[in-house]
C-alpha cells in the first residue's frame, strides 16, 4: 500500500518539476516573441524612412562618374545634368559630407591616401576628396573617400 503511495508521490513531484520547467519555457518563448515584435516594429519604421536609401546608394557611383565627367569637360549640358542629380539628392534629404580642409573624421570619411608623417604637433587634414560622402538622417550612406595630409 505504502509502495503505491510512494510511487504516486514520486510522480507528483516529477510532474511539479515539469510544470515549473514548462512554465519557464513558455514565459521565455513569450518574452522572445515580444522582443521580436518590438524589434520588428522598429525595423519596419526604419525601413520606411530608409527605403529609398538603398536605391540612392546604388545610384551614387553613377553620380560620382557624372561629376567626374563634369569636371573634365567644357560641355555645359553635362554640367547641368550633374547639378540636376545633386539637386535630387538634396530634395531627398541627403546631405554631402563637408570634408575638404577639415580634420579627418573616420565616422564620415574613408582615407585612401596619406601624405606626410604623423607627429605630435601634426593634424590629419583632408586635402583632397576623391569621392563625395553622403549622409541621410545622421546615417552614413557612403563615407567620403579622401586624401589626408599631416600638417
Amino acid at each position: 500500500m505504502s509502495d503505491k503511495k510512494e510511487k504516486v508521490n514520486k510522480e507528483v513531484e516529477e510532474l511539479k518539476t515539469q510544470v515549473i520547467e514548462l512554465e519557464d519555457k513558455w514565459k521565455r518563448s513569450m518574452a522572445d516573441y515580444h522582443n521580436f515584435k518590438k524589434r520588428a516594429e522598429q525595423d519596419r519604421d526604419s525601413l520606411i524612412s530608409f527605403a529609398n536609401m538603398v536605391l540612392i546608394k546604388n545610384l551614387i557611383p553613377v553620380i560620382d562618374n557624372l561629376q567626374l565627367a563634369s569636371k573634365h569637360t567644357e560641355d555645359v549640358g553635362i554640367k547641368m545634368i550633374s547639378t540636376q542629380f545633386e539637386e535630387i539628392l538634396k530634395t531627398e534629404g541627403v546631405t554631402k559630407v563637408e570634408a575638404i580642409d577639415k580634420d579627418f573624421d573616420a565616422n564620415t570619411m574613408e582615407a585612401v591616401e596619406k601624405d606626410g608623417e604623423e607627429g605630435l604637433d601634426k593634424k590629419a587634414i583632408v586635402t583632397e576628396v576623391t569621392k563625395d560622402g553622403y549622409v541621410f538622417q545622421d546615417k552614413i550612406i557612403r563615407p567620403a573617400q579622401v586624401v589626408v595630409t599631416y600638417k
Binding site: 522582443n35 574613408e110 591616401e113 596619406k114
Partner: protein, 632 residues
C-alpha cells in the same frame, strides 16, 4: 540565466549570433552590419569599420589580423610572415610570445581581440536590450592550448564569461544540424577573407572529433581580388598604353570595381567593369571599360583554387580516410560563393556540399547553437512544425475560403464568422479543405459536418463562427457554432500537417500553374454572389419600406434587381460589378430619402450606435457594401 551569444572571432571579420525562439539569429552591429572587421585603432580605441576607414592615416596604430599572433611565439613562421604584411610593430613579449607595439604601449594579441569582443558585446547588448555576459567563442581547429587560452583570455578582458571555446568547423557542422548524425565523417572547406582551412570531423553521439586539419594560412578573398586588379591593369595598358599601377587613386577605384565584379560573376556569366575618367594623359581623359567573363575570371584564379586541393588531400591522408568515406561537406567563408569553388569541392568529394546558410555567418550561428545547448535552451529542442498547405472551408459558389495560410507555425487557431446563403436556411454544411487552389473542388477534402438548428432568418443574418484549431501534434479541430443559439458542432482531423514532401510540392506547383485561371474563377463567383446579394437587398428594401418609397422608385429597384439576377450567369465580372454598384448607389440614395422621411418629426430619431471605424451598425449587423461570406 542570461543568453549565451556565439561569437566568430575571425582574422579579417567577426560575427555574432544568439538563439531566439529556438532559432539562431545573427546580431547586427551598431552600424547595422552582420559582420564587423576585426580591426582596432589602439590610440582612440575605435573598432570595426570606423577603424578600417582610417587605417591608411594611422597605419602604425591600426591593428588588424591580430588573430594570427594569438598565442604565437615571436620566432614562428606565421609571425614572420605576418610582420611582412602589416605596418604596425610586432615584437617579443613575455615568454617569447609575440606582442604588438603601438601608440607608445604594448598590447598582447588577446588585448586586441578583447577590444573587438568588447565592441561586439556592447552592440549585442544594445540590440538585445539586455546585459550580455556569457559567450561561446570559436577558434580554428588547429589552435593549440596556448592559443585557445589566449582567446579565452580575450573574452575575459572584454567582460565576457567564455563558457566554451569551440572549433570553427564544428560550429559550422552544428549550424547545419549535423550533430544529429552518427558515425559520419564530415569535411569542412573554409575559404574566408585571408585564410583557407580544411578540416575532417567525425560525429558520434552528439560529439564531434577533429580527425585532421590542413590549409593555407595566407590564402583568401583578397588574393582573388588582386588577380582581377592585375589583369585589369594589364588590359588597360594594352588598350591605352597607360600603366595604372603607379596611380594610387586609380588603383583604389580598381580595387572597388574588382571586388564588385567578383561578386557579380557569382551569379552572372559576365560583367562590365566600367570606370569612366580613370586617368588622363596628354591626349585627354581615359576611361576603363572592360568586360570580364566568368570563364576568364576562373582562368585568372585557377592557380589559387588549385592551391586548395593539396590541403584537402593532406587532410584526408592524415585522417586515413578515402574521399568516399566523407558523407557530408560544408562550405564556409565568403569565397565559397564562387561557382567554380563549389564545383571544385563537389568534384573532389563526388558529392554536393551544404551551402544553404550564409557562409559568412555560419560559424557564428553554430556558436550560438552551442550557446543555446549550454543554456539548456535546446535541450528538448522545441521544433515547431508548420502546416504545409492552406486550410479552409467551402463557401457559396464552390469557392474555397482560407482560414489558415500554409506555412503557419503551429499550434495555431483561427476563427471567422460566416452566414447563411438562403432565406430560412436552418443548417450549414462545413466542408473542410486543404490545398492551394481557389475552387473547393480542386482541393483535398479533409472532412465535413453539418450544424443545424439555426433559427429561421433572412439570409446573411445568422452568425456562425467557424474555428480552426491545430494543436502541437498537428491534430486539426474544426468547429462551427451558432452565436445566437450557442449550438456547436465539431470534427477532429488527424494528419492534416503530416504530408509527404513530394505531395505538398506537387499541390503547390499545380496551384502556381492554375493561379490566374483560379483567380478569375473566384472573382467571377465573388462578383456573382455580390450581385445576387445586392439584388436581394434591393427587393428587401422595397418589401420593408413599401410605404416610404415612391412608386416609381420601387419599380426601378425591382426592375434593376430582376435584370441583375437574369444576368448572373452570362455577364462578365466587370459588367456585374458595374451593375451591382449602380444598384447599390440607387439604394443608398433612396435610403437617405427614407431616413429623411422617418425623421421629419423632431425627437423621433432612433438611437443609432456611433460609427465604429466608419461603419454603421444597423439591426442586421451586415457591414454595408461587404459581401458576407456565406455557407451553404
Amino acid at each position: 540565466m542570461s543568453k549565451i551569444i556565439g561569437i566568430d572571432l575571425g582574422t579579417t571579420n567577426s560575427a555574432m549570433a544568439v538563439m531566439e525562439g529556438g532559432e539562431a539569429k545573427i546580431i547586427p552591429n551598431s552600424e547595422g552590419s552582420n559582420t564587423t572587421p576585426s580591426i582596432v585603432n589602439v590610440s582612440d580605441n575605435t573598432v570595426g569599420v570606423v577603424a578600417k576607414r582610417q587605417m591608411v592615416v594611422n597605419p602604425k596604430q591600426t591593428i588588424f589580423s591580430a588573430k594570427r599572433l594569438m598565442g604565437q611565439r615571436i620566432d614562428t613562421e606565421m609571425v614572420t610572415k605576418t610582420k611582412s604584411e602589416v605596418s604596425y610593430n610586432i615584437v617579443k613579449g613575455q615568454n617569447d610570445l609575440a606582442v604588438i607595439e603601438a601608440d607608445g604601449k604594448t598590447f598582447t594579441p588577446q588585448e586586441i581581440g578583447a577590444k573587438v569582443l568588447a565592441k561586439l558585446k556592447a552592440d549585442a547588448e544594445s540590440f538585445l536590450g539586455e546585459k550580455v555576459t556569457e559567450a561561446v567563442i570559436t577558434v580554428p581547429a588547429y589552435f593549440d592550448d596556448s592559443q585557445r587560452q589566449a582567446t579565452k583570455e580575450a573574452g575575459t578582458i572584454a567582460g565576457l564569461n567564455v563558457q566554451r571555446i569551440i572549433n570553427e568547423p564544428t560550429a559550422a557542422a552544428l549550424a547545419y544540424g549535423l550533430d544529429k548524425k552518427t558515425q559520419e565523417k564530415i569535411a569542412v572547406y573554409d575559404l574566408g577573407g585571408g585564410t583557407f582551412d580544411v578540416s575532417i570531423l567525425e560525429i558520434g553521439d552528439g560529439v564531434f572529433e577533429v580527425l585532421a586539419t590542413s590549409g593555407d594560412t595566407f590564402l583568401g578573398g583578397d588574393d582573388f581580388d588582386n588577380k582581377i586588379i592585375t589583369w585589369l591593369v594589364e588590359e588597360f595598358k594594352k588598350e591605352s598604353g597607360v600603366d595604372l599601377k603607379q596611380d594610387k587613386q586609380a588603383l583604389q577605384r580598381l580595387k572597388d570595381a574588382a571586388e564588385k565584379a567578383k561578386i557579380e560573376l557569382s551569379s552572372a556569366q559576365q560583367t562590365d567593369v566600367s570606370i569612366p575618367y580613370i586617368t588622363a594623359d596628354a591626349s585627354g581623359p581615359k576611361h576603363l571599360n572592360i568586360t570580364l567573363t566568368r570563364a576568364k575570371l576562373e582562368q585568372l584564379v585557377e592557380d589559387l583554387i588549385q592551391k586548395t586541393i593539396k590541403p584537402m588531400e593532406q587532410a584526408l591522408s592524415d585522417s586515413k580516410l578515402d574521399k568516399s568515406a566523407i558523407t557530408e561537406i560544408i562550405l564556409v567563408g565568403g569565397m565559397t560563393r564562387m561557382p567554380k569553388v563549389q564545383e571544385i569541392v563537389k568534384e573532389f568529394f563526388g558529392k554536393e556540399p551544404h551551402k544553404g546558410i550564409n557562409p559568412d555567418e555560419v560559424v557564428a550561428i553554430g556558436a550560438a547553437i552551442q550557446g543555446g545547448v549550454l543554456a539548456g535552451d535546446v535541450k528538448d529542442v522545441l521544433l515547431l512544425d508548420v502546416t504545409p498547405l492552406t486550410l479552409g472551408i467551402e463557401t457559396l459558389g464552390g469557392v474555397r475560403t482560407p482560414l489558415i495560410d500554409r506555412n503557419t507555425t503551429i499550434p495555431t487557431k483561427a476563427s471567422q464568422v460566416f452566414s447563411t446563403a438562403q432565406d430560412s436556411q436552418t443548417s450549414v454544411d462545413i466542408h473542410v479543405l486543404q490545398g492551394e487552389r481557389e475552387m473547393s473542388v480542386d482541393n483535398k477534402s479533409l472532412g465535413r459536418f453539418i450544424l443545424d438548428g439555426i433559427a429561421t432568418a433572412p439570409r446573411g443574418v445568422p452568425q456562425i463562427e467557424v474555428t480552426f484549431d491545430i494543436d502541437a501534434n498537428g491534430i486539426l479541430s474544426v468547429s462551427a457554432s451558432d452565436k445566437a443559439t450557442g449550438k456547436e458542432q465539431k470534427i477532429t482531423i488527424q494528419g492534416a500537417t503530416g504530408l509527404d514532401e513530394k505531395e505538398v510540392e506537387k499541390m503547390r506547383e499545380e496551384a502556381e500553374k492554375y493561379s490566374s485561371e483560379d483567380k478569375e474563377k473566384k472573382q467571377k463567383i465573388e462578383a456573382k454572389n455580390n450581385a445576387d446579394t445586392v439584388a436581394y437587398q434591393a427587393d428587401k428594401m422595397v418589401k420593408d419600406h413599401k410605404d416610404k418609397i415612391a412608386e416609381d422608385k420601387q419599380k426601378e429597384l425591382t426592375e434593376d434587381a430582376k435584370n441583375l439576377r437574369e444576368k448572373l450567369e452570362t455577364a462578365s465580372i466587370d459588367e456585374l460589378n458595374t451593375m451591382s454598384n449602380a444598384l447599390k448607389e440607387k439604394m443608398q440614395n433612396i435610403g437617405a430619402d427614407i431616413y429623411k422621411e422617418t425623421t421629419k418629426e423632431p425627437g423621433n430619431e432612433p438611437e443609432v450606435e456611433p460609427k465604429k471605424d466608419g461603419q454603421t451598425l444597423d439591426n442586421d449587423e451586415v457591414k454595408e457594401g461587404e459581401v458576407v461570406e456565406e455557407v451553404k
